[in-house]
């Protein structure tokens, strides 16, 4: 893992400067993001947590380029970030391997090389034996791993994850945390991970950013600073999660009156 000193000498992987997003126009416009600034270092694992309406998904859509900001600048160092959703969003008409091959195909990678890369990526997520299956034949956790392999096939150094494990059972989620941590380390990825699960954020992140709701903007930051590998049920994680949750509840209360 890169040390903190090494990281700060490099250019940031993601820099958001005063990013705002409004939906609608004039009097009825709703401000989803308000002058949000955020810097993510290369190789850093940042978790964004926030209550409903904090614009977490809007933010990832803007960083990934699927949506455009109303104001502000987004710099991802010329890379197109890869985006992973809460649902696997696999194409049901393509086999598992063909799903993973699609981003390679779209970049014009040759057939034989595509096959090989897909096999390699599927073995990264422990699904090499399921290459020929259709997505519906797999369980939810397996589909989400195929989606991860497909996202990795984009070969982007920046991975944006929108509550990717939100729909999974606790056991599967724990194991996928270990998996994601391993892949992040091995591939030296920069990850921006959105979740409403504070423990998950403490389990995975180098840094936790708390977003306010309506409009969304960072209101607090926590350096996690715990040794890896971590366990989600460890007392340190629980204690940090409690602190973050308190801060989050404070933010939610603000909307009560």
């Amino acid at each position: 893992m890169t040390t903190v000193e090494a990281r700060t000498t490099l250019a940031p992987a993601v820099t958001l400067t005063e990013v705002s997003k409004a939906y609608g126009r004039g009097q009825t416009a709703v401000l989803a993001l308000d002058r949000l600034s955020l810097t993510v270092q290369p190789g850093e694992f940042v978790c964004l947590v926030g209550a409903s309406g904090c614009g977490k998904s809007t933010l990832l859509n803007i960083v990934s380029g699927l949506d455009s900001a109303s104001a502000g600048t987004i710099d991802t160092g010329g890379h197109e970030p890869a985006l992973m959703f809460q649902e696997p969003a696999l194409f049901p008409w393509r086999s598992v391997a063909a799903n993973v091959e699609l981003p390679l195909k779209l970049r014009g990678v040759k057939r034989s090389e595509r096959r090989e890369r897909a096999r390699e990526l599927l073995s990264v997520v422990h699904l090499a034996d399921f290459a020929g299956r259709q997505p519906h034949e797999l369980s939810g956790g397996m589909r989400q791993r195929v989606a991860l392999a497909r996202t990795l096939a984009m070969d982007s150094p920046i991975l944006l994850m929108d509550e990717p494990f939100g729909a999974l059972d606790a056991m599967t989620r724990d194991i996928l945390h270990d998996e994601l941590e391993r892949i992040w380390t091995e591939r030296q990825l920069t990850i921006v991970f959105v979740t409403h699960n504070v423990r998950e954020a403490a389990r995975l992140g180098d840094r936790i950013v708390v977003l306010s709701s309506r409009p969304g903007r960072p209101v607090a930051e926590f350096e996690v600073g715990l040794d890896r590998p971590r366990r989600i049920d460890s007392p340190e994680i629980a204690s940090l999660a409690a602190t973050v949750t308190d801060r989050l509840k404070e933010e939610v209360r603000r909307h009560g009156h």
């Binding site: 859509n61 990934s64 380029g65 699927l66 197109e80 890869a82 985006l83 959703f85 649902e87 969003a89 194409f91 049901p92 008409w93 393509r94 699609l102 981003p103 195909k105 779209l106 970049r107 422990h126 699904l127 259709q134 997505p135 519906h136 034949e137 797999l138 369980s139 956790g141 397996m142 497909r150 984009m154 056991m171 599967t172 194991i175 270990d178 998996e179 941590e181 391993r182 380390t185 890896r228 590998p229």
Partner: protein, 285 residues
């Protein structure tokens, strides 16, 4: 991370996957064929029995409403005649050209309307309106425009089938899950590639449903056309049906009706094969 942790995670994952997938009971092909066939056989047997019962009741003279056995004798004779197969060939050729043309128009129209908001506002409800219009109502105009000719039949067959096909494409594109489009765009599919790799395949089930419905309309329009527009020297199934009535050949009349029904069922079954193949691939059945 320590190697033993990695190995342990791999084992845990393999264990979870095995538990998740569980066991499924496979059905044999013979079981499948039988379970699909027996309700159909029973339904046909019941229909024949009802028909025979009506004949036995003496409601109509037997020369007007012949018994099933008489009709099947006539049908057995019919399928041995070369002229019958010529008529089938004429009808099939009209059906294929008409339906193919309707398919091209329907697909182009569907894609255009689903892409453009202006076209949708202008044509959307008009297409549905055309779909509900009985195709036989087009024939007087078709005969005025094209006289009693192949073109008149072709015109009505295309008008009958194209709106259903276009509507299939439109609803297919409309109901593509937005998350698949977002995933496709993020993976690098833009412009035409997005249509080729995401929107097209995702709307295929609805397109096949539209084609199937379009075929039903085309076949009805064609039969209406062949009854009304009898072209001398070109015997066809529909015109043979009309001739059978004129010549008081009532077993022949019912035989031709059975032929029309059977062709309709066979083509419909082909669409169902395509449909089931897609649904199986997608895991919908």
């Amino acid at each position: 991370m320590a190697t033993n942790t990695v190995a342990r995670t791999a084992e845990e994952i393999a264990g979870l996957d095995a538990l998740d997938l569980g066991g499924e009971r496979a059905t044999t092909p013979a079981e499948k064929v039988w379970s699909a066939a027996w309700p159909k056989i029973a339904a046909v047997a019941l229909a024949l029995l009802l028909w025979q019962a009506v004949v036995w009741s003496g409601w109509k003279d037997e020369w007007i409403l012949p018994a099933p056995a008489t009709v099947f004798d006539d049908l057995a004779q019919l399928v041995q005649k070369g002229s019958f197969w010529e008529a089938v060939a004429t009808t099939a050729q009209r059906a294929i050209t008409g339906f193919t043309f309707a398919m091209v128009i329907g697909l182009l129209l569907g894609v255009a309307v689903s892409r453009s908001r202006i076209l949708r506002t202008a044509l959307g409800s008009f297409i549905t309106g055309l779909q509900t219009m009985p195709s036989i109502a087009w024939f007087p105009l078709a005969i005025v425009l094209f006289q009693l000719s192949e073109q008149a039949i072709f015109f009505v067959v295309v008008l009958g089938a194209a709106p259903s096909i276009a509507n299939g494409v439109i609803s297919g594109v409309d109901f593509v899950p937005p998350v698949l489009v977002r995933a496709g765009r993020n993976l690098g599919a833009r412009g035409l590639a997005l249509y080729r790799y995401v929107i097209g395949p995702a709307s295929l089930p609805a397109i096949v449903a539209g084609l199937k419905q379009g075929w039903a309309f085309a076949w009805r329009s064609l039969m209406a056309g062949e009854l009304l527009v009898v072209i001398p020297g070109a015997p066809a199934i529909g015109s043979n049906l009309q001739h059978a009535r004129e010549n008081t050949d009532y077993p022949g009349l019912i035989s031709h009706m059975i032929v029309i029904l059977v062709i309709g069922i066979i083509v419909d079954a082909l669409f169902n094969v395509a449909n089931n193949r897609i649904r199986r691939r997608w895991g919908l059945i």
